[in-house]
């Protein structure tokens, strides 16, 4: 039953005191390079912006970006070797003050990165807050260039450094302090815990992932090409979302690490945003999707999230934040006696037979093309292998239907799938792996249905414990 209350996607008191008209923030990146850009973004509907990292101005190279395309789709993944702001601290902070004056209700976060000494951090914190920043984000994540100078991920990969600098910042900061985490570490929780120990008010995760997107097969130079050489960059965009979601879950499920979290990593639409919030994020940050399509994408993000919340009966972000966290557990706590099998809807099947070959070559040889010859259940030896089927059809003789009569015999109305091309699942052998339903190009054609095993739920953990408690057989 949809809830008829108005939905409210405002963010209030994030990490203590940060408010924004919606949870959609621009991440610290090229889209937040200047005050002019940020004001246009707010006009387009963005709720907040994390300023392109402020620090001693750097010199960038050209080119700076590269991408991974997939199956004709541009920018499945995006990579950059750009550094922090190449503009002076003065210019950035002057513009920040102007933005805050004109947009007092939007969140403006100052992303900071300076050399690792206490006074330098104290100074930049004070200046940023004087400019009107609603919060500070400590960039401990940048994986390229800055790390070679002892900053960015060089700090974020060493818990002790991350804690120390967080403590220095907290000595001066009056606004919430967020620590931005690098994923380029074996366990992201170690630095999250360090930040929490250092007094951080919140976290942002994840920063970009070390990457080489590809190599130009004509010049043999990896991308992006800077005068015949390349350097590893930071990977982001849709490709990294699953990695980011996992890290968000790890952080938010760990009491020693969990803090108000601003989720980052491949978010491009409201669905992505809802997923990050379901794993506990209070706000989300977006960059690559904006670099691809512009600020305008936020309109559908806000509308879509509101419409989904309405359909689910959630009035506020807090109503659903973190609801999926308790649905993630360790593998050993999953029910070993739960069984699903694949079912193919004959009406929807278009006869591509991708499920058949996927099951044979990538799963458990239990999807067969035997509806005409008669169903045979059982192990692999009982069935002709796919190559036999293919050889048979190659050996068949086909002719062009030329006469009107022949053509009419071929055309059978609205293209029904011939029975011999509709695969059948042998449910006695199906292990319920999902593969066929993932490769099927037709929505809802292959569904995974629950079958009762007649066994009570039992996890691996429980099985091991009951085995351990059982009387051991006596050896003679």
């Amino acid at each position: 039953m949809p809830d008829i209350r108005a939905t409210d996607i405002r963010v209030r008191g994030f990490a203590g005191s940060i408010n924004s008209p919606n949870p959609f923030w621009l991440a610290s990146a090229p889209p937040t390079n200047t005050g002019e850009m940020i004001m246009r973004a707010f006009d387009a509907g963005w709720g907040g912006a994390v300023w392109k990292t402020i620090g001693e101005p750097i010199t960038n190279v050209s080119s700076r970006y590269s991408a991974t395309d997939w199956n004709g789709q541009r920018i499945m993944g995006f990579n950059n070797i750009e550094l922090i702001s190449d503009r002076t601290v003065e210019d950035n902070l002057r513009e920040m003050a102007e933005v805050k004056k004109r947009y007092p209700h939007h969140a403006v976060i100052a992303s900071l990165m300076v050399a690792s000494n206490r006074e330098t951090w104290h100074e930049i914190v004070v200046r940023a807050e004087e400019a009107g920043a609603d919060g500070l984000e400590l960039n401990f994540g940048c994986p390229h260039g800055m790390s070679e100078r002892g900053m960015g991920s060089a700090v974020g990969q060493v818990p002790e450094y991350a804690q120390m600098i967080t403590e220095w910042v907290k000595e001066k900061a009056r606004t919430p302090v967020l620590v931005k985490l690098t994923p380029n570490i074996s366990d992201i929780r170690t630095v999250a815990r360090a930040a929490k120990r250092g007094g951080a008010d919140g976290l942002s995760a994840i920063n970009t992932i070390n990457s080489i997107t590809g190599i130009d097969l004509d010049t043999l130079v990896p991308r992006p090409n800077v005068d015949g050489k390349s350097s590893h960059g930071g990977y982001c965009g849709p490709a990294v979302k699953p990695i980011a979601l996992n890290m968000v879950q790890q952080i938010m499920s760990d009491p020693e690490a969990a803090l108000p979290l601003s989720g980052i990593g491949g978010i491009g639409n409201w669905r992505d945003a809802a997923e990050f919030i379901l794993l506990g994020c209070g706000t989300v940050q977006v960059c690559t999707a904006v670099m691809h399509y512009g600020y305008r994408i936020v309109e559908d993000m806000a509308e879509g999230l509101e419409n989904w919340m309405r359909s689910k009966g959630f009035a506020t972000i807090e109503d659903f934040r973190g609801l999926s966290l308790n649905r993630v557990t360790e593998w050993k706590h999953l029910n070993l006696n739960y069984k699903i099998v694949a079912r193919i809807d004959e009406q929807k099947c278009i006869g591509c037979d991708l499920c058949h070959i996927a099951c044979w070559d990538g799963a458990h040889q239990c999807i067969h093309l035997d509806r005409v010859s008669g169903p045979v259940d059982g192990h692999v030896e009982l069935h002709p292998i796919p190559a036999v089927r293919k050889a048979e059809s190659r050996a068949s003789i086909a002719e062009t239907p030329v006469s009107r009569k022949e053509r009419e015999a071929v055309a059978q109305g609205p293209y029904p799938t011939p029975l011999e091309r509709i695969p059948r699942v042998d449910e006695t052998e199906c292990v319920g792996c999902n593969l066929c339903s993932l490769v099927c190009p037709v929505d809802q054609c292959i569904t995974m249905v629950h079958v009762d095993t007649g066994l009570p739920p039992e996890t691996w953990d429980e099985r091991m414990r009951s085995t351990a408690c059982a009387p051991q057989p006596q050896s003679s």
Partner: protein, 442 residues
Amino acid sequence: MSIAILPDDPQLRERFSELKPPLAPQAAVIEADRCLNCFDAPCTAACPTHIDVPGFIKRIASGNLRGSALRILEANILGSSCARVCPVDVLCEGACVLHRQNRKPIQIALLQRHAMDAFHASGEALSASLPGTRNLRVACIGGGPASLACAAELCRQGAQATVIERRPLPGGLNTYGVAEYKLRATDSLREVEMIRRLGVDFRFGVTINSAAALDALESEFDYIFLGLGLGAMQRLGVPGEDSDGVMNALELIAAYKIGHIREMHGTVVVVGAGNTAIDAANAARRLGAETVYLLYRRGENDMSAFDFEYEHAKQEGVQFLWRRQPLAIRSGEHGRLLLDTVQVQQVDKSLLPIPDSQFTIDCDLVVPAIGQSPLAQLIQELRGVNVRDGRIVADLATGQTGNPRYFAAGDCVNGGREVVDAVAGGKRAAIAMLKNAEVAYA
């Protein structure tokens, strides 16, 4: 010696600009990416030559264009012309599973052309894997698709093949008979040149029309493949059909394709309603004829032309005269013709003239195009080769005729199908001959 090439004719190119322009490289990749890569794909099964369609399409997607072309040529040596002339609506594209999802089928023909054009542009020669390793010599009579496919397959597998063609240029209907906006004669010849470089011998201007000629062939070659195609067009059977100004559809098409007719004027009447009639009618329009009628004794729903060909003719401005039949051709003023016609109606199984419906068309050219009658004269002289209803009787799977040394495929066997059917038949015959030879020498 290379295959002769026709001089470039800009006027011909302009008047017969391609119906379907090639895909741009990026468009080809986008289209290739749409392909689902079906297992045991229905498009492949529907193709008489069983080209591995998803295989060559995914090679385009990955940028392996050479591999894509070789994949096509492995199944169909005339992959380039088939990409242009195949009625794909009733073949591969008609079988595409995307239809069942209410999506447009993959543009297989255009993708195939993309790969083949890239291969031909590269100038790479196709090589036989084992040239001359088999002691087998085959004469292929007729220079059209069936013989070319048969000879190419034989050469690829190490045998020797000689194509014997009575006309000065090879390619058969691909060179002389397909509408220029679908397949240019120059493209057909380019494809034949690729087959020549594979090692196939050609003899041009040689007509096999006597028992002696056959005896000579039999002593020189182990097997004889008959890729004769069809014979002359059927005659209308009306008075005056030998007048100047009467020219059958295949003559008309051949004449403009090789540059013998460059322009037309006035009124042209094509008699018949098959695909060749439509090609001839469209050609007359493009060559400049102001009025082109297509005269057919039955109705719209009975015509044997493909639906897309009919639609195309309407767009070209061809006018259709249904249920009308020629009675006589007379000479008119200033060298023009008078074609007497009458309206007919079907009564039971016969067509009867409707009284007082006679009508005379004042025209410049009458083009009979009412089917091709199979050439039977030569066949009569071949011992043991059966001919039924004007078609050579041969096994569908092997092309074997009643005479163990004679094989046949293509239009002379199937009565007139598509280029791709001829290629498939020629190739099957080649494989059967290779197999027979292996058994014989084993």
